[in-house]
């Protein structure tokens, strides 16, 4: 046992705010991945992520990109439900771990082609033209820990601020593993883990598609585990998890939502080896199998296969996935899944997989949740698995969470 508990969650997805919306949609067979220009996507309504009013928010808006808006909104959702104090009095040390990428974070995908065409005839040297024409602060606006600083302002957390992402991020579980180490080592008492996936820029989408195909159709039979799945379905999202050591939560009279038994992010020479190592580590101290498995399962032909072959026999539990319903919110997908798994354990039912019509027999013997939800026991446990997108992404992560013994 890590001794670390989840005391609050905040989720923003295409289904709206909060984890229950997603669970209900999955149960009802409602999907939010909508057809797009090339790739369908589950997008967030901008009104779900309003920028706060008043000082210092208005003054600092110029430093915020869309990821910052969503990170702050998700963090505030978690803070609203928990209301912890910051660490201004130094008696409680609180920090932030972000899960948000950096590539294309300057948000200039639409601006730069026009400037490039302008540069062909403009007499100004290129550096001067960019100095004059690129919107101010674009480069620093998207720095992951710059976004974390906004979360620090929202939360009052001053302990430290770091981002974990990309190859080592594993959809946010890399960030959660880092947060747990900060708590277990007693460096911090409370950590807000915040993940964000803003809309994918076209260039980034094409690059992702080259690494491993993105799904081109959001229809029944194109979801995770399906024999006709044809690629990862794109999603947007933001999620915040409040983690703290169990004694800290109890000291302030908070009933934890779940305990994190273990969480590890591992890189190896292949995704399958990494996943094997991560699952082995998190399940090593727990002799019993989990009550459910919340899989990464993004609908990728290769990645679903790798995941099921490695994890399926060891999990031995009903498996579900959110990505047929709200898409794959890459950098923060696993943080959303942890929040969903916590809520499912709390409500004691596991929703079915969206867009799944016929499970792929090549994935091995799986107990996939289809059609109707499954019931879960009181004080249940869930295995959550995740990895980063792409052929080079040989980092995988696993987390085991439990609602047993958290009261």
């Amino acid at each position: 046992m890590s001794g670390v508990v989840i005391t609050a969650t905040g989720v923003i997805s295409a289904a709206g705010t909060g984890p229950s919306n997603v669970l209900d949609a999955m149960a009802a067979g409602v999907g939010f991945v909508k057809e797009g220009r090339t790739w369908p996507a589950a997008t967030i309504d901008p009104s779900q992520a309003p920028w706060p009013d008043g000082k210092p928010w208005v003054d600092n808006r110029k430093y915020a990109n869309v990821a910052a808006l969503r990170a702050v909104a998700a963090a505030r959702l978690a803070l609203q439900s928990d209301e912890p104090r910051g660490d201004d009095d130094d008696s409680v040390r609180c920090g932030i771990v972000m899960a948000v990428g950096s590539s294309a974070s300057d948000g200039l995908g639409e601006v730069m082609p026009r400037l490039a065409a302008m540069a062909e005839t403009d007499p100004r040297p290129l550096a001067k033209l960019l100095y004059d024409e690129v919107p101010d602060y674009s480069y620093i606006r998207g720095i992951p820990s710059q976004i974390g600083q906004f979360v620090a302002i929202a939360s009052g957390f001053r302990g430290s601020n770091v981002a974990v992402y990309g190859e080592g991020g594993a959809g946010g579980l890399g960030a959660m593993a880092a947060a747990i180490r900060l708590l277990e080592s007693s460096e911090l008492d409370r950590v807000l883990v915040v993940g964000v996936q803003p809309p994918l820029m076209p260039t980034l989408s094409v690059a992702y598609d080259r690494d491993d195909p993105l799904g081109t159709e959001a229809a029944p039979g194109r979801g995770p585990f399906d024999v006709q799945r044809a690629g990862t379905l794109i999603g947007e999202g933001a999620a915040a998890l409040m983690l703290e050591r169990v004694e800290m939560a109890r000291a302030r009279g908070i009933a934890p939502a779940a305990e994190i038994v273990a969480c590890e992010a591992i890189c190896a020479t292949s995704r399958a080896r990494a996943l094997d190592a991560a699952v082995s580590l998190v399940m090593a101290g727990d002799s019993q199998r989990p009550d459910c498995w919340w899989a990464h399962a993004a609908g990728s032909v290769v990645m679903d296969r790798d995941e099921c072959h490695v994890v399926g026999p060891r999990a031995g539990a009903p498996v579900t996935s959110s990505k047929g319903t709200i898409g794959n919110a890459f950098e923060c997908a696993a943080l959303i899944d942890v929040a969903l798994a916590v809520e499912a354990l709390r409500q004691r039912w596991l929703p079915p997989v969206g867009l799944l019509r016929q499970p792929d027999p090549a994935l091995g013997k799986l107990d996939v949740v289809m059609g109707a939800p499954r019931s879960l026991p009181a004080h249940g446990s869930a295995l959550v698995t995740a990895f980063s997108h792409g052929s080079d992404a040989a980092t995988a992560a696993a987390a085991l969470i439990s609602t047993g013994g958290t009261s």
């Binding site: 400037l115 770091v162 981002a163 992402y165 990309g166 890399g174 260039t203 080259r210 591992i266 980063s388």
Partner: protein, 433 residues
């Protein structure tokens, strides 16, 4: 058994040296790596464009040994620094447990790392604009036919390649903490070791972003040196004439292990012992440094090392050469060290190398380790007119004196503050493999 975390391997690729020994010699000799960046036209900008550039012969060697098709230059530099560190530590395939990897690669923007990369990128964007304009429906089809630089996504094969080299899985963490990312990486690797998750951990960082885009963006921030004289003087931490920082390209790597593990595999000398650290996030201002936060992380680092300020022998400063950072750091030093500041030697490596963002935290920690082992504090040769408002004791020549402890600072955008203590090991290493 000894529970310390020790530095057993080091590697650097910097503007003043492509190996630890050449880097150290340049530090002591006051050899600059700053040069006018002739590859870019900076006319009309409020700043000059002096940069810390890795010498061509070093670049060529790095590219020859570590370059691969579709490997970004940032990753290539990373491989070069890590290769040096692993060789120095004599760490290979003999590990029996998973190792640690904490690394950071500064995003150079959407192109490669060099001016010509960005010009090529802009030409491609112009062609795209003329071909598909703003038509989003046509854009994807167009992009699918185009080559994309490896910097397009955050993906990197580096961790998997290191896992293959070491023959074990890695507790891998790619982090971003702006310019404090190097020190933060060392802290997170030491945490993995102290918690018993791993016996050995690699820490690495690289940066290379000498493009018109990055120049324009830092120019907008008014953060770059506006010095118009000798480029060698452009970065002058704690000098009254300082006008801003100089960006560099560089990479650094360390191998950390538990002292117990090092002893068990027969390592008889080490570079440094990792002491305590202090971390904090400031939120009072989005870009300006905070004296209170710098004081806080320095005090925390000292206290968690089981020391008092009186025990600190020298400070390896963040020292960026910006007006505000240096003054704020100096004021915080005075708050922590009081009257000792008149005798406390301070070095500022960026005076010679320029600022390598996260990589600086590692390359400057290499200097801290060598300071401990060899009993020499490098000079700050560009601080010829010390700013009385800073009132920091720097030297124009190397200072020979026994050093038991070094306090290392790194700060950055995002409200990032980090400070760490390094201690002289009982068995200091005199040379680097």
């Amino acid at each position: 058994m000894n529970s310390d975390v020790v530095v057993t391997g080091m590697g650097v690729v910097t503007p003043i040296g492509g190996s630890v020994e050449s880097f150290w010699e340049a530090n002591l000799a006051g050899k600059t790596g700053l040069t006018l960046e002739h590859r870019m036209d900076v006319a009309g900008l409020p700043c000059g464009w002096v940069a810390g550039i890795i010498p061509d012969e070093v670049k060529a060697e790095v590219k020859d040994r570590h370059g691969q098709s579709n490997r970004s230059w940032g990753d290539t530099l990373m491989h070069a620094a890590v290769d040096q560190a692993l060789t120095d530590a004599e760490v290979g395939q003999g590990l029996v447990r998973p190792a640690g990897l904490v690394w950071t690669r500064v995003w150079p923007g959407p192109s490669g790392s060099f001016p010509e990369d960005y010009v090529t990128h802009m030409k491609a964007l112009a062609k795209r604009y003329h071909t598909v304009g703003g038509d989003p429906a046509a854009l994807t089809g167009y992009l699918r036919e185009q080559p994309l630089p490896p910097e397009t996504t955050d993906s990197s094969a580096f961790p998997a390649e290191l896992s293959a080299r070491l023959g074990v899985p890695l507790h891998a963490m790619r982090l971003e903490a702006t310019c404090s990312g190097g020190l933060r990486s060392i802290a997170e690797a030491a945490r993995l070791l102290r918690m018993g998750k791993v016996d050995v951990a690699v820490v690495s960082a690289s940066v290379s972003r000498s493009t018109p885009y990055v120049l324009s963006q830092y120019g907008q921030l008014m953060a770059l040196s506006r010095w118009r004289g000798d480029p060698a003087q452009a970065s002058m931490p704690f000098d009254r004439r300082r006008t801003g920082m100089v960006i560099n390209e560089s990479a650094g790597a360390l191998v950390l292990e538990t002292a117990e593990h090092a002893e068990c595999r027969g390592v008889d000398t080490v570079h440094a012992v990792v002491g305590g650290w202090g971390l904090a996030v400031g939120a009072d201002h989005l870009t300006a440094p905070s004296e209170a936060m710098i004081e806080r992380v320095m005090r925390t680092a000292v206290e968690r090392s089981g020391l008092t300020p009186n025990d600190v022998d020298t400070i390896n400063a963040h020292g960026t050469s910006t007006r505000l950072n240096d003054l704020t750091e100096a004021r915080a030093m005075h708050r922590v060290f009081g009257e000792r500041m008149s005798t406390l030697d301070v070095c500022a490596v960026k005076s010679l190398t320029g600022h390598g963002s996260a990589a600086s935290g590692i390359t400057e920690s290499v200097v801290a380790a060598l300071t401990l082992c060899r009993g020499v504090i490098p000079p700050v040769v560009t601080c010829t007119e010390p700013d009385p408002k800073c009132n920091v004791r720097t030297s124009l020549t190397p200072v020979d004196r026994p050093v038991q402890t070094v306090l290392k600072n790194s700060f950055g955008f995002g409200g990032q503050y980090a400070s760490m203590v390094f201690k002289r090991p009982a068995n200091p290493r005199c040379g680097v493999a």
